[in-house]
Each structure stands twice: as C-alpha cells, then as structure tokens.
C-alpha cells in the first residue's frame, strides 16, 4: 500500500493532521467553542471554491478565507456576548452561501466533491508543501503561546491580571484554527472535519488526566483515528473522511465503555 506515491502523500498529510488538529482542538473544546470550529470548517468550503475559481491552491484559499471568518468570529463576539450561538449562523451563512453561489455558477473546472468528503488520491505536491508549512508554523505558535492560550481557556480574568493580551491572542488563535482546518480538508473533507478537531479531545477528556496528559492522549487518539481511517478507506475504496469520523466515534464509545467496566470492577473489589 505504501509503495504508491499517492498513499505516501496521504500518510504524510495525515500525520500533520493528527498532531495539529488536537493541539488546536483542545483549546476550542475547553472553551466550549467546538461548534464554532464546525462552522469554520464548513466556511472553509468557500475558501476552497475561491481558490479553485482563481486557479490558486485550494488549501491556501481555505486558509485565507477561514482566517478571515475566524477574525470575524472574534469581532462579532463583542456584539453578541450573550448569544454566541448566533455567530455560528452568521459564519455558516457567509461561508456556505459563498460556496454554493460559486459552485452553482458553473465556473469551476474542478469537482469540489473531493473536498467535501475527503480523498486520498487528490493530495498534490503543492498541497504537501502548504500543509507542512502551515503545520510547522502553527505548532511553533502553539508552543510559544501554550501557557497564554491555556489560561485564556481556563481563567480569562487571571490571565488578564497576569498581563496576557487576551484579545490579540484570540485573533492569533482564530488563525491557528483556520490553519488546522486547511491542513485537514484534503484527507478528512469539510463535512466531518470537526470530528478531527473535537472527538479525539473528547475521548482524552474521559481519562480524567491533567492538561498536558489530556493533550498527549488527544494526539495519540487522533493519530489512531486518522491512520485507521486511511488504511480502511484504501481497502474498502471509500472516502477517508467518513471512515475517520466513524472510527473516532467508535473509539470514544470504546473508551467510555472501558471506563465503566473498570469502575465496576473497582467497585466490586472494594465491596468484597
């Protein structure tokens, strides 16, 4: 399987996704913004179509458009402080509205389906360079801003007292979310992209560990989900996005079940 060039490309991109998505996703999930991540991933479809329309890299188009939408989320937050769910509708309308308008105009020479469901055949060399560059820069930014982002998510007031520039870092964070989404669209696809951002973190949260360990387990679960999704999609000849999402939910349920069984065994031991 790995002797094929397209599979080597897909494995390389998947490795980048499995590290980057949970590193960004953990902050989104813990700030209760996973649905905003979902809205941004749907909005990235507009960026893809704009990129394709102008003959540019769709990954670059997705990154630029999703970054703009991310900044718009931050901007709108001050206007809808108590109705943040409305921001979701606004971003979805803007993103999906743009995408549908461009696709239905018939001006795209490429089929956009591969970006909706994910594909292992369509990863190009240009995509790989974009994915590598975005992943490296984003991971460096996460390492550099780790403590600031952790505290903004955990206790924003304490972060402000310590001199953290919360608003500025929130804008940087929205660019990082855009980066994680852009890196993932080729393999995972727009429709189930949020599964890579939220579900490995949701699975790791079930282990009841501290922040650093939760992050490490999120990366491990994410790598398992996407690599298994890739492997099975090759043999079953289906889109990797859907399978990855199914595997991530199955793993989450398995961890919850294992946790219940273990606590049952512990309970019986303590009674006897």
């Amino acid at each position: 399987m790995l002797s094929y060039g397209f599979m080597q490309n897909a494995v390389f991109v998947s490795l980048c996704i499995s590290v980057l998505c949970p590193c960004i996703g953990i902050f989104l999930v813990l700030r209760r913004y996973s649905m905003i991540g979902d809205a941004l991933s749907h909005a990235s479809l507009a960026g893809i179509t704009i990129g394709l329309l102008f003959g540019q890299s769709p990954v670059l188009g997705a990154f630029v458009f999703t970054s703009v939408c991310g900044a718009l989320v931050e901007f709108l937050r001050s206007y809808y402080e108590k109705h943040t769910d409305l921001i979701l509708s606004i971003i979805l309308s803007l993103g999906v509205g743009t995408a549908i308008t461009i696709i239905s105009s018939g001006r795209l020479r490429v089929n956009a389906d591969a970006f909706m469901f994910g594909s292992i055949l369509t990863v190009t060399k240009t995509d790989m360079i974009m994915v590598l560059a975005l992943s490296l820069v984003s991971l460096l930014a996460v390492a550099f801003l780790y403590h600031q982002m952790l505290y903004i998510a955990f206790d924003e007031e304490a972060a402000k007292v310590a001199g953290v520039r919360v608003r500025l870092i929130n804008y940087v964070f929205s660019i990082l979310v855009a980066s994680a989404i852009s890196v993932s669209i080729r393999i995972v696809g727009v429709l189930v992209l949020s599964s890579m951002i939220a579900i490995p973190v949701a699975t790791a949260l079930q282990l009841g560990k501290g922040f650093r360990k939760t992050l490490v387990f999120s990366v491990i679960f994410s790598a398992f989900d996407i690599m298994s999704g890739l492997l099975f999609s090759y043999y079953l000849n289906v889109a990797p996005g859907g399978l990855t999402a199914l595997i991530s939910v199955a793993l989450l349920l398995a961890v919850i079940l294992a946790k219940r069984l273990l606590s049952g065994v512990k309970g019986r031991k303590s009674h006897s």
Binding site: H147, Q148, A153
Partner: protein, 221 residues
C-alpha cells in the same frame, strides 16, 4: 497603594450609578475588607481596581508592582477543565515570567497543599480550591492581593485556615490585602480597616466601629 477619586461607574455609562462619586484610599500594609449589601458595587469596585472595567468619571489608580488575584472559585474558572493544581500554578508562573520552578512548590507548601499537587482542580473541596487560588496569587511575591469573597462555599475549619494564611501574609510579609466580603464576622475579625459601601457611596471605619454600627442598625430594624 490604591487611590480612587470622585469615582463614578454604571454598566451603561449613564445614571443611576453603581458607584456614585466615591473617594477611597488603601495604604500599604493594610488589610481592608469591602462590605455591603448585594448589588452595592463591591465586585464592581474590585473589577475597576483590576482594570477589567473603566470608570465613567473620576479616576482609580494602583501603585502595586504585582497584584495577586483570587476570584470566586466557581464564578471565574472554567468548570470541568482538566488541569492539576501543579499545572495551574506552574503555567501562571510562566505567564508572570518567573524562571525558578521552586516558587510553585514553595507556594503550595505555604498554602498547605503539597499533597494535592497532582490532583485535578475540579476534584478539590471548596476550601482546598480556595487555598489553591491563594497559592497562585502568592506566586512572584505580590505586594497587593485582591480577593473576591474568599470564604464563599468554604467549610468553617477551612475558612479559619484561609483567613489565618491571609493574616500571616499581611502581618509577616507586609502584603496589602483587599477582600470583597460577604462574611461579616471574618471581615471584623481579620481586617485592619473596613470599607462599607451602601447606595453607591462608601466610608472607611475600624472593624470595631463597623460591628457597633451593624448591631445598632439591626436593633433599629
């Protein structure tokens, strides 16, 4: 340490004001409790000192080089957040730019929380959680510690430990303390001064004078 002059504040920037032209001065080394009925502006005053809010009119300034802040445990922090006591302090140390890791263990020792270092914040009792927040506020030797209702949701024996710790910081280390209090007994027993807020105005009194004033008012009503 803190000086407020002719301070006005309301959340929509127009009358009626929550704080209605108050003058307030907190000197170095004092332990001041801010008391008053619900909605009288205690927490608003604290937020103005911390620069979370801006005055509508007048001014408020602090000379503190480093401020330690202790929020109400349930009010400010993100519940269900997977973070250990050690991680909470160590990350804050990094935000404050303190290089020595040892300050974290020292702070935990002073708060009596060494054995809870690896515990998740969410699993702590009210008293232990409050002590963890005080341990965080002690990082980097602050000259001012601001607390928002430190005994809220804390059992009586832990309250005793918390106020003992605050008094020690104030008396032995000279840390200025400003505590927004709903616990009047703790305010009278521990503070050097009390700032009583009522109907947007405030006045300073000694704990003894405040206790007498409180008892007199209760007798009248």
């Amino acid at each position: 340490m803190i000086r407020a002059e002719n301070l006005y504040f309301s959340y929509n920037a127009s009358p009626p004001f929550v704080l209605n032209g108050i003058d307030f001065e907190l000197k170095n080394g004092e332990y001041v409790s801010v008391v008053g009925e619900n909605g009288c502006g205690k927490t608003t005053l604290m937020k103005l000192i911390l620069k979370f809010l801006k005055p509508v009119r007048g001014s408020i300034a602090s000379e503190a080089k480093r401020i330690g802040y202790v929020p109400q445990k349930q009010g400010s922090m993100n519940s269900g957040f997977p973070i250990t006591v050690y991680e909470m302090l160590d990350s804050y140390r990094r935000l404050l730019g303190i290089r020595e890791k040892a300050v974290v263990t020292e702070s935990l020792r002073r708060a009596g929380l060494e054995e809870f270092s690896a515990a998740l914040i969410d699993t702590l009792s009210g008293g232990q959680g409050q002590k963890a927040l005080i341990a965080r506020a002690m990082l980097g030797s602050p000259d001012l510690i601001i607390l928002d209702e430190p005994s809220s949701g804390v059992d009586p024996s832990s309250q005793k430990e918390i106020y003992g710790l605050l008094r020690k910081l104030n008396e032995e280390n000279g840390v200025t303390i400003l505590s927004v209090e709903h616990n009047l007994e703790a305010a009278v027993l521990n503070s050097t001064l009390i700032y009583h807020l009522s109907k947007g105005k405030g006045h300073v009194c000694t704990p003894q004078n405040y206790a007498e004033e409180y008892l007199r008012n209760r007798g009248e009503s």
